[in-house]
């Protein structure tokens, strides 16, 4: 049997995705260090955006406190390296666990607040975390601290990469953190897809669309939302560790910056397309391009960004990806479930089956 046109489309798409993935993995072998650093920046933004999109776009949890997880992930990583002399790679993982550990009491507190007040609750918790971080004298208090010189070069695996690619230690460290970010981004995307396609993901979207109706068919909102909140804290925390390993200097204000780690991320997702999986990718690329083009204009750039965000909400609420997808009928990484097919033998179902869509 010949493949249908639709499955041919999917097949080409798969090939394109694999080729793209291979190119991204191989990038450090054929591009300059500056480009790798740029792509690292883009990937970390993408990871933050995908995590926020899971929370706000799928779980109905509009968090304005993502900087808490970035900051705690980074601070715990700095503590593990500076105070306990651990390998940076291990320290990043511990940072992620630290962010995850914060997310549990944060959820206990913020989940009491409905809707919009949840946003404020998470913001307040993030501000508490920032102020507490400023009290840690061992990590420089309010003025912050730096990693010992050359920390990232001592990471496990850097010397192998250095020998293999015949590049400087610093370039090898850049390549390693780039691959880590790429792996984390790929994992986040893949895990989000699998999760959303699963029974639990269906339940999650049902809660977002109508909490009462979802509960009436036996979906437990609290358990599912908590699971997503905690997992997103882990991803965001690891990402925070990665970013600050490259920045090498930490202050409470930088690590817990609401503008850098939450506002930008919100704009990325909103412009790209909230509640779709490709949305954050499209948004991150647009954001990054705008940033490269207008970064010299500083405040004017931020005004423009805010205005574009407002404009998107007013005129194209589905964002760039959502608008394109509905206009041209494309659906990469589809989350819709088809209704079960009726065979000739089976009787017509009495009630119409419920299909979940976003």
């Amino acid at each position: 049997m010949l493949p249908s046109p639709k499955s041919v489309g999917r097949f080409t798409l798969c090939l394109a995705a694999i080729a793209m993935g291979l190119a991204l993995v191989a990038a450090p072998f054929f591009t300059s260090r500056a480009i790798i650093q740029d792509m690292f920046g883009l990937l970390t933004l993408l990871i933050l955006a995908m995590n926020w999109n899971m929370l706000a776009g799928f779980a109905g949890l509009v968090s304005v406190g993502q900087q808490a997880f970035v900051g705690v992930g980074a601070y715990v990583m700095f503590a593990a390296i500076i105070l306990f002399d651990l390998d940076p790679l291990l320290a990043i993982g511990i940072g992620g666990l630290g962010a995850m550990a914060l997310s549990v009491p944060m959820a206990f507190f913020a989940f009491r607040l409905n809707g919009a007040y949840f946003a404020i609750g998470t913001w307040v918790v993030a501000d508490i975390a920032r102020l507490v971080a400023g009290q840690i004298k061992a990590l420089g208090g309010g003025t912050g601290t730096s990693l010992p010189k050359g920390t990232s070069k001592e990471m496990i695996g850097v010397d192998h990469i250095q020998a293999l690619m015949k590049i400087s230690g610093a370039a090898a460290a850049d390549a390693l953190v780039y691959w880590l970010a790429l792996a984390l981004a790929a994992c986040t995307l893949f895990a989000s897809y699998l999760f959303l396609r699963s029974r639990m993901g269906l339940g999650l979207q049902a809660i977002r669309d109508n909490s009462a109706a979802a509960r009436s068919v036996g979906v437990d909102p609290l358990r599912l939302q908590l699971a997503v909140f905690v997992l997103c804290a882990l991803g965001t925390g690891i990402c925070g560790g990665l970013m600050f390993l490259q920045i090498t200097r930490i202050t409470p204000d930088a690590a817990f910056s609401v503008i850098d780690w939450t506002a930008f991320v919100i704009f990325i997702v909103v412009i790209g397309g909230l509640g779709t999986l490709p949305g954050p990718i499209v948004g991150a690329v647009i954001f990054y391009a705008l940033q490269r083009a207008f970064a010299d204009y500083g405040t004017v750039y931020l005004i423009l960004l805010g205005a574009v965000g407002i404009g998107t909400m007013l005129f194209a609420r589905k964002g760039v990806w959502g608008t394109l997808a509905s206009r041209f009928g494309i659906d990469i990484l589809p989350l819709r479930h088809r209704a079960p097919k009726r065979t000739a033998a089976s009787p017509r179902p009495r009630a119409t089956s419920v299909t979940a869509s976003h």
Partner: protein
């Protein structure tokens, strides 16, 4: 006697926070809109008062009188052109639009006025104080608390004694049915946001006289204001005043122990109250 002094300073500071929060409480009570740009709008009002005072050589209090109608118009326009378009579809669009507005205002102010901190100088009244028993109280903090009480009393009168207040309450209860009675909810909302901006201007006046301000301080004021609204209980204006005083007291005690703990103490008081009373101290509206 130092504790008595700390308590008094805390209560007076609470008056300022209640002024920050009253506009927010009003808008939330009527249309369930959470305005994340409220703090930045207060800072915008402070700059507006500053500009009028410098340009015309006025005292800040006189300048604020001119700023009041301008801020009412800004609130009215924001609601008509922006917020009304995103109210119908869940909590996310209004949150994101007001968040975007916050970034626009903050950076707009930064572009026009630079990051230098400014202050409104009100002359000799700033330094004068009265002695009440063992403690001495500043005149402007007393005026701040007094204004907060008067404004909340006036807002309550407006709410429960006037035709406009009746329209506010009816729209808040059922924005569809009021249309059968000849009320247009979107116009009511625009007036409400205008009034909220009038209150924000008065808050800005006392903020600017009390301390330095710069374009970046809006979000922190927003958090204090929200904490006051939530502690007080949604929809209760007197509750908002009490909420402001609770935050003021907590910050004042925190600062007395260690100046670095001022903000932290306020946040922690908020968290603790919310754990024991999730709906605030005097809840009126259900969300």
């Amino acid at each position: 006697m130092i504790w008595l002094d700390t308590i008094m300073q805390g209560i007076l500071l609470g008056g300022l926070y209640a002024l920050f929060a009253a506009g927010l409480s009003l808008v939330f009570g009527i249309m369930r809109l959470v305005n994340l740009a409220h703090g930045d709008l207060i800072v915008l009002a402070a700059y507006l008062v500053l500009v009028i005072a410098t340009a015309l050589g006025f005292n800040p209090f006189a300048a604020a009188l001119i700023a009041l109608p301008i801020m009412f118009a800004i609130g009215w326009l924001l609601q008509s052109l922006l917020f009304n378009r995103v109210l119908d579809d869940g909590i996310l669009p209004p949150l994101l639009v007001t968040f975007g507005l916050s970034v626009v205002i903050q950076n707009g102010l930064l572009e026009s006025f630079s990051a230098d901190s400014r202050k409104l100088s009100a002359g000799t009244i700033e330094a004068s104080s009265v002695s009440v028993g063992p403690v001495s109280l500043g005149i402007t903090p007393l005026m701040t608390l007094g204004s907060a009480v008067i404004i909340i009393w006036l807002l309550n009168q407006l709410f429960y004694r006037t035709a406009l207040g009746r329209a506010f309450r009816a729209t808040s209860d059922d924005a569809v049915t009021v249309q059968l009675m000849g009320i247009r909810p979107k116009k009511i909302f625009a007036i409400a946001t205008g009034i909220a901006m009038v209150v924000a201007t008065i808050a800005a006046l006392y903020l600017g006289i009390r301390a330095n301000f710069d374009p970046s301080i809006g979000p922190a004021r927003l958090l204090y204001a929200f904490e006051a609204v939530i502690i007080g209980g949604l929809g209760s204006l007197w509750g908002t005043l009490i909420g402001g005083i609770v935050i003021g007291l907590a910050q004042s005690f925190g600062a007395a122990v260690n100046p670095e703990w001022q903000i932290l103490a306020g946040h922690i008081a908020f968290a603790v109250i919310l754990i024991f009373r999730p709906r605030g101290l005097f809840p009126r509206a259900t969300d």
